[in-house]
Symmetry: C2
Subunit: 345 residues, 2 copies
């Protein structure tokens, strides 16, 4: 039997964390090749004053010092700088690059005229056209552009803590759910498969808007009752929004790890909730907050903008007061304490 | 038109908090009498060395110094020590006494041969028979013993914070939902009505078991991914358990304030989660923890015991690993780190 060869596209913190777990466990699985390849977009690192390529450093030290420090990576995880080589030598591709690079990468792959692969996306975000105000799932974009079936894999997992203990993931898949479950399910990662890919993928993006709302309420020192009530209403908007995008979406998908659990982690410890708190308690703007993040982008603020444009086009802004208020607060059109507007009838 | 007269049975912290909110708002509502009565089980308070009856103190100072300090209570909230008088002069009765007193109170009321009333219970717990290992909803007990329709009112609301900002409540009712919504809905309390009373009432009890599990994971310093995954699995057990008790229960009730929101508040700030953390991080027993609580009982540990007896009788312990593990840890039959057993297939 031919073994499925695994390639991971992206070696940031989440990519490296998931690659570490997959590579450690793949040797116990009979249907996958023992070597896991991961594509690295190379950069320089400075260690004790001397410069070195990150890929060279990782090969020698088995540690992704830039994105997942203090985690020893296994020998069967091969970091490769040639994207084409990684993809050509893989049957299953895991996409986990920063959101803003996916279109360029997919177009590069398209030009390579590759054989058909099985794909899945771990990316929490959507593609958005300013002109049409249409929201496109990244997994659907990959399917359409490359002609490969693409599933979505999401869940409550902070990258830096994944290797420490147990977590869960949800696979949204209409085609390769069983195979991908074999790949992602390990003693440390418990996987559930659902057919409702739209909810799985969109929840991963939308929960960041709700986390900002929760953070704003926390920053205003509103009661925990209020904070959690805002979160709950945001959760209901997540469900309604997904239903607009895909009428076959299933409300019960919110009970999966990609739903309520990922939302709760994001509210308790996430960066977007922290952004909401900083806006409300210190009056910071999102520009200032992103500046302090050294160029990293806040997913939630971008998502709040895209979602607002979509809601306006559909003429349903009134039905989504949490999303609309977060947009207003982030983009300087509302004061933080207007978060309480979400409770108005 | 005759106005509905309101009586509240119980003046602990939650009883006083809800009475405060109802009394403040009842004057703006045309169908209710302007005076709200609340039954107080009297006790002595010591202020600056001198003793006084709590009821006298409250009447003078408009503050329930023992159970809801620093909250000024309105003049139209009448504290009365005669239970029969409160009930006779009321049309709608709100039950919110500590769990262990409800049977005595209901039997007292039964002996009084009163006119039919509209009842609702805000009590988070169940009645349990050691002999039969049957779980009885408090609202059903009131209905059966007194012949009054009784709804359940639950939600994510920490008593001491209710007056500060906005919160939500869920009314589970098959009979008086609209009327009770008029009573409980205020600018500060947003109410939703569902017919699925069983879920509403049982979630209020069961979430405390899950909060202990979350607290144990926190006490062991497991990753936030793991903590939240344990909470999610506990939430699924809550849904399954309710379904066993009432096959007409609706899975979507978990999305109400009484479900996921109350669970989340309990995990983040609740006493039961704190108990789980103390067991796991300091090795305390539940006896020691309750001792430090000056005689107050932990709802979650009692509920874990009752639920375990019920699961054993039904022969389904294996299907509820979160509930079973919390029982084992609380009653000294398992080590805290066996909480990870909930992830075993």
């Amino acid at each position: 039997m031919e073994l499925y060869r695994i390639g991971i596209i992206g070696s940031g913190s989440f990519g490296t964390a998931i690659a570490n777990i997959i590579a450690r466990d793949v040797q116990n699985k009979s249907v996958f090749d023992d070597t896991v390849k991961i594509w690295i977009f190379d950069e320089q690192v400075r260690i004790d004053g001397s410069k070195e390529l990150l890929s060279e450093y990782i090969k020698r030290e088995r540690e992704n010092v830039n994105y997942l420090p203090h985690v020893k990576l296994p020998e069967n995880l091969l970091f490769m700088t040639n994207l084409k080589e990684v993809v050509q030598k893989s049957d299953i591709l895991v996409f986990v690059v920063p959101h803003q690079f996916i279109e360029k990468i997919v177009q590069d792959l398209k030009s390579m005229k590759l054989k058909k692969k099985i794909a899945c996306s771990l990316m929490k975000g959507t593609l958005f056209s300013e002109e049409t105000a249409e929201i496109v799932l990244i997994s659907n974009y990959i399917e359409k552009e490359l002609g490969w079936p693409c599933s979505a894999v999401m869940g409550a997992n902070i990258a830096s803590e994944m290797h420490k203990s147990v977590c869960e993931m949800t696979i949204g898949s209409r085609t390769d759910g069983d195979l991908l479950k074999q790949l992602f399910n390990t003693p440390q990662v418990k996987v559930n498969v659902v057919r409702d890919k739209t909810s799985v993928e969109l929840f991963g993006a939308l929960k960041n808007i709700v986390a900002i709302a929760f953070g704003v309420a926390r920053g205003l020192q509103l009661s925990i009752n209020t904070q959690v009530s805002i979160m709950r209403r945001g959760m209901l908007e997540m469900i309604e929004f997904v239903k607009m995008v895909d009428k076959n979406a299933d409300k019960l998908t919110i009970l999966e790890s990609c739903g309520i659990a990922d939302l709760m982690v994001s509210c308790i410890t996430g960066r977007n909730a922290g952004c909401g708190t900083a806006i409300a308690s210190k009056g910071l703007t999102i520009e200032k907050i992103e500046e302090d993040m050294k160029g990293q982008k806040l997913q939630g603020t971008l998502c709040a903008y895209e979602v607002m444009m979509y809601l306006r086009k559909k003429n349903v802004v009134d039905k989504f007061p949490v999303f609309a208020t977060v947009y207003g607060i982030c983009y300087g059109k509302m004061d933080s304490n207007q978060i309480l507007k979400v409770f108005e009838e």
